[in-house]
Amino acid sequence: MPMQPYLIVALILFCIGLFGALTKRNTIIVLICIELMLNAVNLNLIAFSKYGANANISGQVFSLFTITVAAAEVAVGMAILIALYRNKRNVNIDKMNTLKD
């Protein structure tokens, strides 16, 4: 099966992304890691649209949508982050816990 290498790369990429998102303190790194996870998903979508059991073009369309949404998300995320930094002089995610109680 030629699909397996794609899936394994995507899995590795996703796991790196997840690990980074859950462990890194710097919020910028966390955002980058989320992008990594999204791209792992995109890789999966494209692999399935090419070699899947029911191969068709809609997988690629989905991944294009995902890239667009990810770009928008990064723009909004960065804007929030800059606003937070102006208030707190800090971008560490573990300090952003004021909603807890």
Partner: protein
């Protein structure tokens, strides 16, 4: 005129409301206002009485509640028994209102006093007018409330507070019996109207055992209200109230309501021989039991209170031996002479400011009218020939004999003997002999008090002639006229019963004279040689102590036990349950630490768990 019968209880009730509403402003006018209201009530009653005398039984009902197909009504019923009671209550109440003007003069809460008196009068009149058992029960509780309020009128005295509470609780025990009887009766006959109950009882629609049970339960209510043997201890304590109140409530009217209840439910008792026997035995026992206690009391009102208990026992005895007329007749005469005795005692207390008969003596020189009235009352209650008590007592004795209850007959005779003994002990100790204290500044009561005593004395002298074996039994004939369930209203009394009653009565008076006036017996010596008996009698056979030890302590112990169960078992369990959920909440809230990454990790772990489960089970 008879259509205005419903107004009779309304007038004193309005007076009660007005007096309570303007109790500060109306202090100077309160007594006049209340006396006027009770005079109007009495006038109305008189008019209604004569109208009902001519028209016979009259009923007026309004629908009050409809439960399914059963209509519960509210209204008035006038039959011979009711109108007799109506007249009696409003007349005595009117006299007491007049008497209180003198007795309660200068009391700062006089408008409250008259207000309560109005409430009681209204409730009592409503009670005797009731055409059904539910209305009866409601007014029955209301008279209990009136009695409670008036016993506790001097609420700043601890003893008065305790007495009021005791009276309320003791009568409540009886009322539970009455309520259960009422519910059973409703269950069995589907109606609470007296006439319906009579029909279904006389038609035998209720089985015999149930009739006996209901009759005895209702009698328990009467025991509580009328101070019969096991529940009598509240009545002597009730003497803490003002003396006119004792005369009205605890001698003439409310305590007689128990006897009246038995009279109203008489068809029920006629249908059950066991219930009749219970009534007769309780009555006879109470009559002699209370009379023995009355012999040794040193408080003038206590003696009269025990005398009331004893006489109520007499009435119950009469009811229990089919002497319906005799019982009602004695109720009627007793109301007059006992009210008279209490009012005379009140006059003595008013003059001397003490109730201890050991501090009295020789009062007949100073308090001439009081002394004369008391003598008339004492003679009447002792059954002195030709006075009212003579006829009613003789009628009761004849009824007991005619029913064949020979043991009870001798008990009743003994009680009659003791009655005249303790009454004349009281008379000789209070009004005759040497004064114990200087009587120089003692004054006879004001004119209003004297006038009421004289009026009552005239009635105590002459009221017996409404029902005598010689001049005709008007009262008995009239009472039994419309009541088909009563068989043989009057018992032909052998002459020897009358003779025996006379001898017993005179014997008691003579013995009292011999001991207390003639001083032929050394009383101190006598007390010492019978010290055990004396102590037992003066402590009322230790009944109060017995109740204290058993019921009061027992209830309190039970209460404590439940309190500890509540504290340690129930609330311990509640604490445990509450603590469990509290700790869960605490733990849960610790995970809410605001660290987004922890949340993400937990969410991911949850996903992994679900997926592992999915893989392990191969599906849901």
């Amino acid at each position: 005129m008879i259509y205005l019968a419903w107004l009779i209880p309304v007038v004193p009730f309005v007076s009660f409301l007005c007096l309570l509403w303007m109790r500060k402003a109306a202090r100077s006018l309160a007594s006049w206002f209340a006396v006027a209201a009770s005079a109007i009530t009495f006038g109305l009653t008189l008019a209604v009485f004569f109208a009902s005398f001519q028209q016979g039984t009259f009923t007026q009902e309004w629908s009050w509640l409809t439960i399914g197909s059963i209509d519960i009504t509210f209204g008035v019923l006038l039959n011979p028994l009711n109108s007799l009671m109506l007249l009696l209550v409003s007349f005595i109440s009117f006299l007491i209102h007049v008497y209180s003007m003198g007795y309660m003069k200068g009391d700062s809460r006089i408008s409250v006093y008259y207000g309560y008196l109005g409430l009681f009068t209204s409730a009592m009149l409503g009670l005797v007018l009731s055409p059904n058992l539910l209305q009866f029960y409601m007014f029955w509780e209301l008279v209990g409330l009136g009695s409670f309020l008036l016993i506790g009128f001097y609420f700043y005295k601890n003893s008065a507070k305790q007495a009021a509470k005791k009276a309320f609780i003791m009568t409540r025990i009886g009322d539970v019996g009455l309520l259960i009887g009422l519910i059973l009766l409703f269950w069995q006959t589907n109606s609470l109207r007296f006439t319906d109950i009579y029909t279904s009882i006389t038609a035998g629609q209720v089985e015999a055992g149930m009739v006996t049970l209901i009759a005895i339960l209702i009698f328990i209510g009467a025991i509580g209200k009328s101070g019969q043997f096991p529940l009598h201890t509240w009545l002597p304590d009730a003497m803490e109230g003002p003396t006119p109140v004792s005369a009205l409530i605890h001698a003439a009217t409310m305590v007689a309501a128990g006897v009246y209840l038995v009279a109203v439910m008489y068809p029920l008792y006629m249908a059950s021989a066991i219930a009749l026997t219970v009534v007769a035995c309780v009555g006879a026992f109470t009559a002699i039991y209370a009379a023995t206690i009355g012999l040794v009391q040193n408080d003038i009102k206590q003696v009269l209170a025990y005398s009331t208990i004893s006489q109520l026992g007499y009435m119950m005895l009469a009811m229990g031996v089919l002497g319906y007329t005799a019982g009602v007749f004695h109720l009627f005469t007793h109301a007059f002479f006992k009210a008279l005795l209490f009012l005379a005692a009140g006059s003595v207390i008013h003059a001397l400011h003490t109730q201890n008969i050991k501090e009295m003596g020789g009062l007949n020189k100073k308090l001439k009218v009081t002394s004369f009235s008391f003598l008339v009352g004492a003679l009447a209650i002792s059954g002195f020939p030709l006075l009212s008590g003579f006829f009613s007592k003789e009628e009761i004795l004849a009824a007991v004999w005619a029913d064949g209850q020979y043991v009870l007959f001798f008990v009743a005779l003994g009680a009659a003997f003791l009655t005249s003994l303790y009454m004349f002990r009281l008379y000789f100790l209070v009004f005759r002999g040497e004064p114990k204290k200087s009587l120089d500044h003692i004054q006879e009561a004001p004119i209003g008090m004297k006038a009421t005593m004289v009026v009552l004395a005239i009635f105590a002298l002459g009221i017996g002639y409404v029902n005598t074996p010689w001049f005709g039994t008007f009262l008995g004939d009239w009472l039994t006229e419309g009541a088909s369930f009563l068989t043989g209203g009057h018992h032909s009394s052998p002459v020897w019963i009358m003779l025996a009653a006379t001898i017993v009565s005179l014997g008691g008076i003579a013995l009292a004279y011999y001991i207390y006036e003639g001083k032929k017996v050394d009383q101190g010596n006598w007390k010492q040689s019978f010290s055990g008996t004396y102590r037992m009698l003066s402590r009322n056979y230790y009944i109060d102590e017995f109740y204290e030890l058993t019921f009061v302590k027992g209830t309190r112990g039970l209460g404590m036990a439940f309190h500890y169960i509540e504290m340690y078992v129930v609330s311990g369990m509640m604490d445990m349950i509450q603590g469990f959920f509290f700790s869960i909440g605490k733990t849960g809230s610790k995970t809410q630490n605001g660290q987004t990454q922890t949340y993400g990790a937990v969410a991911f772990l949850g996903l992994v768990l679900f997926m592992a489960f999915y893989i392990w089970k191969g599906g849901y």
